[in-house]
Symmetry: C2
Subunit: 253 residues, 2 copies
DNA sequence: GAGTGGTCTAGACCACGCG
DNA sequence: GCGTGGTCTAGACCACTCA
C-alpha cells in the first residue's frame, strides 16, 4: 500500500474489499469452505464490520458467497442453470415439467392478476402453489392463477384443496390448446412466504418470472414464479450449461 | 407519531418501514415526485438514517424509487418492458434491432469467452460494444464477442475501430445462417464501465443476459448484455407487458 | 455554497443454529 | 450457552448536482 495517497480517484473501501475477497475466493478457497467470521475478517482488513458486510453482500448477490445466520459464511457453488420456458407450447404440468404441485384453492386473486386474466374483480380463480427444486435445493416458488372458466369440467373434482386438486386443475388445463406463452423476468425481493419456502430471509433478491398462457386469444392462466437470484441462472432456449459470466478456472478441464 | 406499534412477533424496523413507505408511494405520491431527504425521513419515522436507507434500498431494488446523489429520491415510473430474444433466428444487428453500435476492436477475449467460442486461448476475436436505450434512457450495455473466422471477409474493411467497423462486422455476420440462439439471465452487479454507461454507481444490480449464437453446430458469437435491474423488465416471447404500455421504439436517423 | 445521497465508523443488542 | 450473521444507532465526512 505504501504511505502515499492511494488513487487520485479514491475507490470506495468496500469495493476494493470486494475485489480482494473475490480474488481470494478464486485462489485460496474451495466450494463449501467456511470463511472467518465477519468480526475477524473486518479486523483483518482494518475496516468496520458494516463496511466488510457491504462487500460480503455484493458477493452474495453475485452468487459467490452464501451466508446463514447462526452458521457462517461459506463459498457458494456455481449457479445452477434452470430452464425456463423451453417449450413454447407446453402447459404447466406437462411431461418433463420439474414443478411439484403443493396446493390449490379457489380464491379471489389480487387485482392486477384479475385484470390480466380479464375476469371480474371479485371473481374467484384457481390459485395453485407449486415449488421447484434442483439438486435437492429449493430454487423457486410459484403462484399459478387459472381462470375458473378455463377448466369448467373441474366442478366434480373430489379434493377441495391440496396437491391432488392442483394436479386435477393442471390435467384439465392441458385439454385446451395452448396458443403461446409469454415470459417476463424482473428483479424483486422475496415476500415473507416465498422467502420461507426458498430458505432465505424476507427481502432476499429474487428473479420474478411472469408467464402468461394464451389460448384462443385470451389469457387462460398466469404464473408468477419466484427464483432465488443468488443460486439460479435462468436459461431460455434449449441450452442449460456453459457459464460464461466471469468464471474462475475451477472447472474440470 | 403516526408509526404504529410493532407486532408481538417483531418485524425488522426497516421491513415495516418499507411497507409503510410503499403504501405511501401508492397513495400520496405520483411518478417523478421528490421525497423528503433521508435525514428528514429518518427523523420523521424515528429511526437512524442507516435504517431508513435500508428500506429505501429495497424499494429502489424493486424499481419503486430512484435515488441520485446530489439530487434526491424520486418516485420511479413503472418498469420498462424490454424485449429480449424475441426473434429466435435473428443475428444481432438485424432489422428491428434496437441496439446502437458504439465501437469494435480485435482483441484477445477473457478466457471464459474464448472457451465458449472454442477459439484458442490467445486468439483475438472481434469485440463489439453496443448500447441500448428506451424512452431516452440507457437501459443496457453489451459486449459482443464474434469469432474472427466467423467473419473472414472482414480483412479489407476500412475502419480499424469505431461504430463503422462494428456495423461492418454485424453485416458480415448476417451472411451466415443462424441456427439458433440460447439465452440465460442472471443477477449481477455492474462493473465500473457498465455502470458509467448505464448512469448508475458501480455495483448497481443488473440483469446479465448471455446469448450464444449457434451456427453450423458451433458458437459463432457470444453476447453479454447488462440491463439495469431497477428500471427494466425483460420480456421473452412476443409481447410486452401486462400493465405496462410500451411506447414506439426510437429509431436512430 | 448549500443540499443531496454515498461511505464509513465503533459500538450495541437480537435471532438463530448447533452442540 | 456460545458463536454466527442480522439489525440498529448516532454520529462523521465525502462526492456529487445545481442554483
Amino acid at each position: 500500500m505504501g504511505t502515499t495517497q492511494l488513487e487520485s480517484v479514491p475507490e470506495p473501501k468496500y469495493w476494493h474489499l470486494k475485489t480482494v475477497l473475490s480474488e481470494a475466493l478464486d485462489s485460496e478457497f474451495s466450494v463449501g469452505e467456511i470463511l472467518p467470521n465477519e468480526r475477524d475478517l473486518a479486523a483483518r482488513f482494518g475496516v468496520a464490520r458494516a463496511t466488510l458486510r457491504q462487500a460480503l453482500e455484493q458477493l452474495e448477490l453475485e452468487g459467490r458467497l452464501q451466508r446463514r445466520r447462526g452458521v457462517g459464511t461459506t463459498v457458494a457453488p456455481p449457479r445452477v442453470g434452470v430452464a425456463v420456458g423451453t417449450e413454447q407450447h407446453d402447459w404447466p404440468g406437462a411431461a418433463g415439467d420439474t414443478w411439484q404441485p403443493v396446493d390449490a384453492t379457489l380464491e379471489v386473486p389480487p387485482a392486477a392478476v384479475a385484470a390480466a386474466l380479464e375476469t371480474g374483480a371479485e371473481q374467484p380463480v384457481h390459485i395453485l402453489r407449486r415449488s421447484r427444486t434442483s439438486h435437492g435445493q429449493p430454487v423457486a416458488a410459484e403462484l399459478l392463477y387459472v381462470a375458473a372458466d378455463s377448466v369448467p369440467d373441474l366442478s366434480a373434482i373430489d379434493a377441495p384443496s391440496g396437491a391432488a386438486r392442483a394436479r386435477a386443475v393442471l390435467r384439465e388445463l392441458r385439454r385446451l390448446e395452448l396458443e403461446r406463452r409469454e415470459n417476463a423476468v424482473e428483479l424483486g425481493s422475496a415476500r415473507a412466504d416465498d422467502a420461507k419456502e426458498l430458505d432465505r430471509l424476507p427481502g432476499a433478491p429474487v428473479l420474478v418470472v411472469t408467464t402468461r398462457y394464451v389460448t384462443g386469444g385470451r389469457v387462460a392462466a398466469i404464473s408468477v414464479a419466484t427464483y432465488r437470484a443468488d443460486t439460479c441462472r435462468l436459461t431460455f432456449g434449449d441450452s442449460g450449461g456453459v457459464e460464461i459470466h466471469q468464471g474462475p478456472e475451477r472447472r474440470a478441464s
